[in-house]
Structure formats: structure tokens, C-alpha cells
């Protein structure tokens, strides 16, 4: 009796085991393509980039180990730039300087603008869907297409300067061809292109803030602006962090807009040159994949540390 019982339980156990291993096997089949492709084009490629950054190579000949020399190329470039060298002697420095200025303009502006627009739309008004759709339209259009259209709008005798004369009479720069304005033109296009997308995210987050908090504040006599500063902004903190981090990641590796509006060589005086353009040029024009890999690792560390510090700081503030 007990013997057969034992036998039965063993049989069930082995059946379950069999089922378990079959499940694992079929799961492996299901995940195989995603895993393989991402292991090769993601992890293997990243590891290879790291490896490559210690070698001198021209894609064809044999690879020559050069230690940290590729990284020295970066720091020499930066050093020359700090000492006031021109764009052609210090392209990486120019790219870094431009992208930091660009990020400092674009990320705060698009975040604040998106938040203000969302706050306006978060009221009992008609046609919110129309506003959402029109604000979102740039986000579904290719940056290249947007840049091509804006090159024309930014011409000296173009639409933007025409509209500007109603706001700032006499201010009509040659945006694309003037090295003092090119980067700002690119930044304006970027803000135009992404702020609407973030506005929609903010609006959704605002709509989930409980209404009674606002009603209580209204009873206390707080006007719309004070309600925005003292209720909306603090309640939105997680969404603000999300939008800023996404914005930072996007802005620091900006490529498409600069490629079209400034050209791969960065336009007049390298005014529109970015780190991403420099990595592209090292890899595919100068044919120095080792230096390109080192520069891309520099970019990765830069993005990672800026977003890390920002997230860390925010979390400290929230507690």
C-alpha cells in the first residue's frame, strides 16, 4: 500500500519535472531570437567597442594595441580647446562645448514649456484633443524632415524672421549661416519638436492628481499660479524627473538635426558641431574606429553620470 503510494508520488514528481523542463525548453525557443540579436548587437557590440578603444585600426589591416592612446587623443583635443584652439584643431572640444550649451538650453526650456502648456490645458475647456494632436504632430515627424523644413523657414528672408519682426523689430539674423545663431536655431527646432510630446505626458500626470487638493487650495484662496507652483509642480516630481532624464539622453547625443542643419562638418566655424557628429566622422570619414570607440565611451560616461547625478539628487530632495 505504502509502496504503491510512494511509486505514485514519484511518478507525479517526475511528470512535473518533465513538464517543468519542457516549459523551460519551449521558453528558450520563444526568447531565442530576441536574446540572440540583442546579445550580439547589444552586449557583444558594446564589449567590442570597449576592446576596440585600446587599438589602432583602419578596418582593413591588423589591429595594433596602443593602450590608452585613443583616450589621450581625446584629452589632448580637450586640452587644446581649453587653451583656445580653433575648431579644426579641437573638434571634439567644440562638439562637447556645443552639446553642453545646447542641452542647457533645450532640456530646461522644453520641460518648463511642456509643463506650462499642460497646466493651461488641464482645465475645463473644450478642444483639448485638438491641442494635444497639434502639439504632438512634430514628435511623429522625422527630425530630418523637420530640419529640412526649418532650414527654409530660418532663411534670412524667411517665415521665422517675418514672424519675429512683430515680436522683436529689427532682429533678423541669418540663422543657418551665422555662426553666432546656428546652435540656437538647432536648439529652437529641438524644443519645437519635443516639447509637445512631453506636454502630453505632463497633462496625463496632472489629470491623475486628486481634484480635492485643488479644491481645498481654492477655498484657501490660492489663485491658479500659486496652485501650479505649490500643488502641481510638487505632485509632478516623478514625471519631471522622467522627462528631464529622457530629455538629457536625447539632447546629449543629438545628431540628426545637426547633420542636416549644420552639415557633418558642423557648419560655419563648427558652430553646429556635436560629439555625435564627431564620433561619426572619426568612424566613417577619418576611418579611426579605435578613436571613435574611445569617444563613444566618453559620451556614454558623460550621459550616464549626468543622468545618474540628476536622479540621485532628485531622490535626496524627495525624501
Amino acid at each position: 500500500m505504502s509502496k504503491s503510494h510512494l511509486f505514485l508520488s514519484q511518478k507525479i514528481k517526475s511528470l512535473l519535472e518533465k513538464r517543468k523542463s519542457r516549459e523551460a525548453l519551449e521558453a528558450l525557443v520563444l526568447i531565442s531570437v530576441v536574446t540572440c540579436l540583442n546579445m550580439v548587437f547589444g552586449y557583444f557590440a558594446a564589449a567590442f567597442a570597449f576592446y576596440l578603444s585600446f587599438f589602432k585600426w583602419d578596418y582593413i589591416g591588423s589591429m595594433e594595441f596602443v593602450g590608452l592612446k585613443n583616450f589621450m587623443v581625446i584629452f589632448e583635443d580637450l586640452w587644446r580647446g581649453i587653451n583656445g584652439a580653433y575648431f579644426f584643431q579641437a573638434p571634439f572640444y567644440t562638439g562637447l562645448k556645443n552639446i553642453l550649451l545646447y542641452t542647457a538650453i533645450v532640456v530646461p526650456t522644453q520641460t518648463v514649456l511642456a509643463m506650462i502648456l499642460a497646466a493651461f490645458a488641464n482645465q475645463k475647456i473644450k478642444g483639448v484633443q485638438f491641442y494635444k494632436v497639434s502639439y504632438f504632430l512634430p514628435a511623429v515627424t522625422s527630425p530630418v524632415i523637420i530640419a529640412l523644413i526649418f532650414i527654409w523657414l530660418f532663411m534670412k528672408q524667411g517665415f521665422i524672421n517675418y514672424m519675429l519682426q512683430f515680436v522683436a523689430p529689427g532682429f533678423a539674423p541669418d540663422w543657418i549661416n551665422d555662426k553666432n545663431y546656428l546652435l540656437y536655431a538647432i536648439a529652437l527646432v529641438a524644443i519645437w519638436g519635443t516639447s509637445g510630446h512631453f506636454m502630453v505626458s505632463f497633462l496625463a500626470a496632472m489629470q491623475s492628481i486628486p481634484r480635492d487638493i485643488y479644491e481645498a487650495a481654492m477655498l484657501e484662496g490660492a489663485g491658479p499660479i500659486r496652485r501650479f507652483i505649490y500643488i502641481t509642480v510638487p505632485m509632478l516630481k516623478p514625471m519631471i524627473v522622467y522627462v528631464v532624464v529622457l530629455g538629457l539622453i536625447g539632447a546629449l547625443q543629438m545628431f540628426d538635426l545637426a547633420w542636416v542643419m549644420a552639415g557633418s562638418r558642423g557648419g560655419p566655424g563648427g558652430a553646429g558641431y556635436t560629439m555625435a557628429l564627431d564620433i561619426y566622422n572619426e568612424a566613417f570619414i577619418n576611418l579611426r574606429p579605435g578613436v571613435a570607440a574611445a569617444k563613444s565611451i566618453f559620451l556614454f560616461v558623460l550621459i550616464f553620470s549626468i543622468t545618474y547625478v540628476f536622479q540621485k539628487k532628485y531622490k535626496v530632495m524627495a525624501r
Binding site: 523551460a24 519551449e26 530576441v34 548587437f41 547589444g42 493651461f120 504632438f136 527630425p143 519645437w192 547625443q253
Partner: protein, 280 residues
């Protein structure tokens, strides 16, 4: 309510409509302006102050585009690339998303975290090694080689996994009791239930692939293999036309599918974006 308070409230609503409409104009005017100008001669489109009614009305800009033999090829290439990416992601990421959400196997969560961690690596880090891999495979200047890189994206796998996690476990248990194996229950139960998520993956991947620039720029070499964004920036930089209006017309043709798709699906798309953002 006191009359003065009512007045400030009405003033506030008026300000709201003014600000929202002003920005709607700012976001829409480049599209409207280029749509109108695409039917103008370059002479009229570049006039200052700008004119709004095409006179003479001309289709010459669009004709010039299609007289260029490359242009229809660019449309075809872009559609092929987007099609491959959409199909690949629908098939592979739904399979993987289901396995990560619903099946038990050793190392599942570690592997999924490892895939998610890939999102932190900038595309510029993996660009050169991937170029070398694709080159070694002999697939440079080939849409299929380019598509291989994003055939099974992590974000679509994540989206599918989240969706399968949100379905009730009982459905899958019932199938299991009836003797359905994991793969069988994926095809007969998981997939039919996952239609909304599959639609979302398809639309996002289509938008991403149709608008992609860096990948096509690096991995495609000859003009007849370009996609629309690369082709148009190439046409612009090579000054293929002395006028700018064909570039504007071309930009509109290239943007049309995404704009139409977005306007048709705007309610779902905007909701989807918000859901994704909430996860962050």
C-alpha cells in the same frame, strides 16, 4: 460668486485659449506653411513678406521629385525597411514577451533585466562594432542587413511582456489543464488576446523605422538603396535642384504616412505614450 471674481475667471479662461491657440499655431504653422508652399513656384515661396495663396498653382515641385528616378525607390526602400521591422518585432517580441511574462525558466528575471539594461547604452557605442559585424556578414548597403539590427527591439519586448503580465493567470491555467504546451497556448490563447499590444508595437515600430536616420545613413551606401530621410538630406546637400520647393514637397511626401497614421489613431497613440511614460 462676486462679479469681480467672475470677471477674473473669464479673463483666465480667455488667456488659456489664447496661449493654447498661439502654441497650436507655433506647432502647426511649419506644416501648413510648407504644405501651401509645395504648390508654389520657388520664386513665390521665397518672397518676403510670405504669401499664402499659390499663384500660379503648380504641381511642378512634385513632378520634379518623381522625375528623379531615385525618389520612388526611396519610398519603396523606406516601406520595405519599416515593413521588415514591424513584422520582425511583432513576431519575435511577442514570443519573447510572452515567455518572460508567463513561463518559468532558470535565469528568466536576470536575463530580462540584462536586456533592459541595454537601453542605457547609447547607439553611438554599438554603432562601429555593428558596422563591422554587418560588414563581415556582407550585408552593408542592404536593407535586410540594416533591418537585422532592430528586428527584435527591447522596448517592444518590454511592452509585450507588460501586456501579457496584465492578463489574468486563469486563462493560461485553463489551457494548461487541457494539456496545451507553452508554445501552443501562446499561439492559441496569448496571441489572440494580445491584439491591442501588437497594434501598439506595430505603430511605434513603424514610426521609428519610417523616421530612422542614423542607421540608414551608416549602413546604406549607394543612393538607390537610401531611405527617404537619408535620400532627402542627400538631395539637399548635393543641391539636386536649384530651388528649395522640391525639397519641401519631398519632405511632405515623406512625412505624410506618419502624419496620416497619427491623426487617424491619435486617441490610442497619445494614450499609449502616456502609459509608456507612466512606467518610467
Amino acid at each position: 460668486m462676486r462679479p469681480s471674481l467672475k470677471l477674473t475667471k473669464m479673463g483666465w479662461i480667455a488667456l488659456t485659449y489664447f496661449v493654447l491657440s498661439l502654441f497650436a499655431f507655433i506647432y502647426l504653422s511649419p506644416f501648413i506653411r510648407s504644405f501651401v508652399a509645395s504648390f508654389m513656384t520657388w520664386e513665390q515661396a521665397s518672397k518676403y513678406p510670405p504669401e499664402w495663396i499659390p499663384n500660379p498653382f503648380t504641381l511642378e515641385n512634385y513632378m520634379k521629385l518623381f522625375r528623379l528616378e531615385l525618389f520612388p525607390r526611396w519610398i519603396f526602400n523606406t516601406a520595405l525597411y519599416a515593413g521588415l521591422i514591424v513584422v520582425g518585432n511583432i513576431v519575435f517580441s511577442s514570443m519573447a514577451g510572452y515567455a518572460f511574462a508567463r513561463l518559468k525558466f532558470p535565469g528568466r528575471d536576470a536575463l530580462f533585466s540584462a536586456l533592459l539594461a541595454l537601453l542605457m547604452i547609447p547607439i553611438f557605442v554599438t554603432l562601429v562594432p555593428n558596422y563591422i559585424i554587418i560588414y563581415r556578414l556582407g550585408l552593408i548597403d542592404n536593407i535586410v542587413g540594416l533591418a537585422l539590427l532592430s528586428l527584435a527591439n527591447v522596448p517592444s519586448t518590454f511592452l509585450m511582456r507588460q501586456y501579457f503580465l496584465s492578463l489574468p493567470q486563469e486563462v493560461f491555467d485553463a489551457a494548461r489543464i487541457d494539456g496545451c504546451g507553452p508554445i501552443k497556448s501562446f499561439f492559441y490563447i496569448g496571441l489572440p488576446l494580445a491584439k491591442p499590444a501588437l497594434g501598439a508595437v506595430a505603430v511605434y515600430q513603424f514610426l521609428g523605422a519610417w523616421n530612422a536616420f542614423l542607421g540608414p545613413l551608416v549602413f546604406l551606401r549607394s543612393p538607390e538603396n537610401f531611405t527617404l530621410p537619408v535620400g532627402l538630406s542627400f538631395a539637399f546637400q548635393r543641391s539636386m535642384w536649384t530651388e528649395y520647393t522640391p525639397i519641401i514637397a519631398g519632405s511632405l511626401v515623406a512625412a505624410a504616412p506618419t502624419i496620416v497614421l497619427f491623426i487617424a489613431l491619435n486617441k490610442y497613440l497619445i494614450k499609449g505614450i502616456v502609459v509608456q511614460a507612466g512606467k518610467g
